[in-house]
Amino acid sequence: MFTEFFLYPSSPVLVLLLTATALIGLECLPLDHWSRGKFCVAIGGAVASILLSVLLWKAWPIPYSSVGYSGAEAWLAEFYRSYFLDRQVLAFFLGIGLFTFLSLVFMNFHFQEHELRAEVFILVLFVASGMMLLVSANSLLMIFLALEFLSLPTYILVGIQKRDKASGEAALKYFLFGSFASVLLVFGIAFLYGRYGTLNIPDILNAIQTMSVDSPTPKRLTLAALGLLLVGVGFKIGLVPFHMWIPDTYQGAPSPVTGFMGSAVKLAGFGLVLRLFWGMFLPLIDQWGPIFDTLAIATMFVGNIAALVQDNLKRMFAYSSISHAGYLLLGVTSLSPENGSLLYYYLLIYGLMYLGLFAIIAFIEYYTKNTEIYQISGMGFTHPFLGLYLALFAISGAGIPPTAGFLAKYFIFLEAVKAQKTFLVVLAVLSSLIGVYYYLRVVVYLYMKESKERIALPVSHRFAFFCIFLCALSQVYFAFSPSLLGFGKW
């Protein structure tokens, strides 16, 4: 019972927690020169988590998924009420595991001389387990706890370069905005609890469903809770007009941390959106759909237009991540849980693109301490491979064929047209037309500008290079065999 209904279904999360705890234990021992070993332990944890998620995916449906409230022991029933697993959640687990693995590799490179190198691994593993708990939460309380559990280590990661003022500022801004968003979320959760007397998501869904059958306009308290949750989530995933913290935080944070936040944390953020708005508020889609659509369009345009005038790579791609949140949000309102894998495909491709991109920026930042766009002048010829990868990431981010980024956008837009949102799609493609300009600037600098001085980027970390190669390969490979990414049925 214990193994089958507790250990097995929660193993991907548990293994991450255990690894992080083990690393804390190792930190207490006098092993200062063993950071390579600690890195291996952290990587091992991430890999084990990925493997366990794959095992669960293959073994689906496992008996856990059919256990009822009554058939199990009391504590197990309680666990079941707060922890939820299906193939969608498992897919998110896989994505989180993968992004964590890649982030660990890139951070290991970037923080190789940092005094807190081992702490970085511990923090990342904690964030990863928090994200997994978030996307698998079945209770609003669990959502709040998981959100805090992932946010606090992220604040630290952003500010981990203690002597860097920008990093400190970024961390403080992120912390203030993040805690404000959490407050709004708690407030919304409290309203829901007050209205329905439960924190369990399926119960609330049932209540809303029966209520919406009785009276077409929902009760004011539910609407207030919906609004508060929407704003809180909007802060977390960086929707306009709640995006103010993103450029400063993404620019100030160390590059691999930015990559981690833009890929994994965003994936988890959208996992939260799906849990809340598909899992709980789906009957009220007439209320939140138009709001999300408006926010999506605003987010795309603000992100893309603001990115046009940036000369700092990190800031430019921070704005680009805002615009991507807009496209994803259009997917949230246009897709349904049946074809949610299209949204997941977008998240995964975008995340891999973002991680690879910021890994290269991390290389540049590490060696030059500067991430202005002129740093990459002529890099396409002086560093053919890194330049090619960077160009590929830019093209994929812009959604130009034949990259997976195009397919991701294609299917989101297709579904939006199917949902009778042709006008929104016209706006969305126009905003991506604006966006193409700054992505192309990257290509222009890479290939069409002469480099003033050759940046030396020594190939000392072969494994990190290999992982960048994998990210770049994924942008092409998944364009040609997208069925691997769960197109079709979950």
């Binding site: 093209i395 064929p401 297709l414």
Partner: protein, 500 residues
């Protein structure tokens, strides 16, 4: 060789992978060899093509995204066959013309091979998704060719080219989404075969600005193609791109990329939205007539040879669109022939201008004069190509323009009369250029010891000249391969328009 069409795309792809590890010098040779292999395979396709059948031939299909019934499928018919042949002919010529490039030649060659893949794929794709992928893929090598190997204003020109073309194609993308959805809701299953969208039924209620769905879809497609053609007044990217591009880039841009627009009109806009096309004919024909006169007039004003040839393209492409708009077989045959002719003669003209520029670093008429005495072989080819471009009887241009004018006369004699003035203008600007560059006394001392055509120039000019003369003397020999498809085109279209 069971699947020749796939090989047309696979050979340049293999070429790219072979080029990557090679030295800069060797990669040029390898790229040339692979592009010539493409020529051979295209001849096999030409021979295997059954001229008696009008549908798609040599179809091949692989499943790509099964849940949306998207396939990677290729096929060739009378519309695409001549353009594929032209592509495969022009690519080695463009590569050969770039042999003397010293800046990163290997990357240059890879760009050409990538462009080859994209162009061939665009013509061969019978699946709308694959078509769109190839259509956009074409932009990437092209902006690199212009932006990396071009002249001084290259970055501006390449970005302008990209943004113009991309702006058109994103709206086409929305139209594709809509067609996809409409097909699925009308027939109950997905299909992304281009021909399946010919059966989508449009409701006539206005949805936006008083236009109905069919008109909107037509406009979205046609905008993308009109930018590519380029139809007046969307042509402003063309002179910049042509003047800044290196010779090889200009050749492919003029010879192949512009034809994608007219090909797209014939393949997508007209059969998918026949009624909207009929309503838009006055607009399209009017713009093409303006383009004919305007392009010729502006070309006449130029003192830069490359700009002159670029603007002459605007004029010539106006003829092609006019030939499509007249909606009869003569016009269509003329348009089809003129697509090939324009590719051959303009390609050759860009080659010759590039030849001069390489030796004198100038394209200005004023720097030349009397070249006929110094460069007799060069001058022969320049006169020949100019004659072909201004439709001298006996050369290919005459047949195409004659057929277009004949078709135009049958539909509306005023169109023909306006267009004929474009022919006269064409003679004026071409002859002006020829006179100023080739004849008269040798004015500049630098021009006295220029070297005439080398072996590689002969290799690229001779096939072009051969085709120009052969098409002029016996167009029927080539036309009979695809004339049945063209005969069928409007009658099948009339049937479709009758149904709605």
């Amino acid at each position: 060789m069971t699947t020749p069409l796939l090989w047309l795309i696979a050979i340049p792809l293999i070429g790219i992978f072979v080029c990557v590890p090679l030295s800069e010098r060797l990669s040029k040779m390898v790229a040339l060899v692979f592009s010539l292999l493409g020529v051979i395979v295209s001849m096999v396709v030409w021979c295997q093509f059954d001229s008696a059948s009008t549908g798609l031939q040599m179809k091949e299909s692989w499943t790509w995204i099964s849940s949306f019934n998207i396939h990677f499928s290729l096929g060739v018919d009378g519309l695409s066959l001549p353009l594929v042949m032209l592509t495969k002919l022009m690519v080695p010529i463009a590569i050969l013309s770039s042999f003397r490039e010293t800046r990163k030649p290997r990357a240059f060659m890879i760009c050409f091979l990538l462009l080859d893949i994209a162009m061939t794929g665009t013509f061969l794709a019978t699946d709308i998704f694959a078509f769109y992928i190839f259509w956009e893929l074409m932009l990437l090598p092209m902006i690199l060719i212009i932006g990396v190997w071009g002249s001084t204003e290259r970055v501006y020109a390449s970005l302008k080219f990209f943004l113009f073309t991309f702006a058109g194609s994103v709206l086409m993308l929305v139209a594709i989404f809509w067609l996809f959805t409409a097909y699925q809701s009308q027939l109950g299953f997905y299909s992304s075969e281009i021909s399946s969208f010919y059966h989508v039924v449009f409701s006539s209620e206005p949805v936006f600005l008083g236009l109905n769905r069919e008109a909107l879809i037509f406009l979205a497609f046609t905008l993308a193609f009109a930018i590519k053609i380029p139809l007046f007044p969307l042509h402003t990217w063309l002179p910049d791109a042509h003047v800044q591009a290196p010779t090889g880039g200009s050749i492919l841009l003029a010879a192949i990329l512009l034809k994608m627009g007219t090909y797209g009109l014939l393949r997508f806009s007209i059969p998918i939205c026949p009624n909207a096309f009929q309503q838009c004919i006055p607009l399209l024909a009017g713009l093409s007539l303006v383009g004919i006169i305007y392009g010729a007039w502006v070309a006449f004003q130029q003192s830069d040879m490359k700009k002159l040839v670029a603007y002459s393209s605007v004029s010539h492409l106006g003829f092609i669109v006019l030939g499509i708009c007249v909606m009869n077989t003569e016009g269509l045959s003329g348009a089809m022939l003129q697509m090939i002719n324009h590719g051959l003669s303009t390609g050759a003209l860009f080659l010759l201008v590039g030849f001069l520029y390489e030796r004198r670093h100038s394209r200005n008429f004023a720097d030349f004069g009397g070249l006929a005495q110094v460069l007799p072989k060069f001058s022969f080819f320049l006169v020949l190509m100019a004659c072909s471009s201004m439709a001298v009887p006996g050369l290919n241009g005459f047949v195409g323009e004659f057929l277009i004018l004949l078709g135009a006369y049958k539909t509306d004699r005023w169109w023909a009369m306006i267009a004929v003035t474009g022919v006269v203008f064409g003679a004026i600007y071409m002859l002006t250029m020829v006179r100023q560059v080739l004849f008269g006394p040798v004015t500049s001392a630098e021009n006295r010891n220029l070297k005439d055509l080398g072996i590689s120039d002969w290799c690229s000019l001779l096939p072009l000249a051969a085709f120009i003369i052969a098409l002029g003397i016996s167009p029927g020999f080539f036309m009979k391969k695809f004339e049945r498809s063209l005969d069928q085109y409007w009658s099948s279209f009339k049937r479709v328009s009758h149904v709605h």
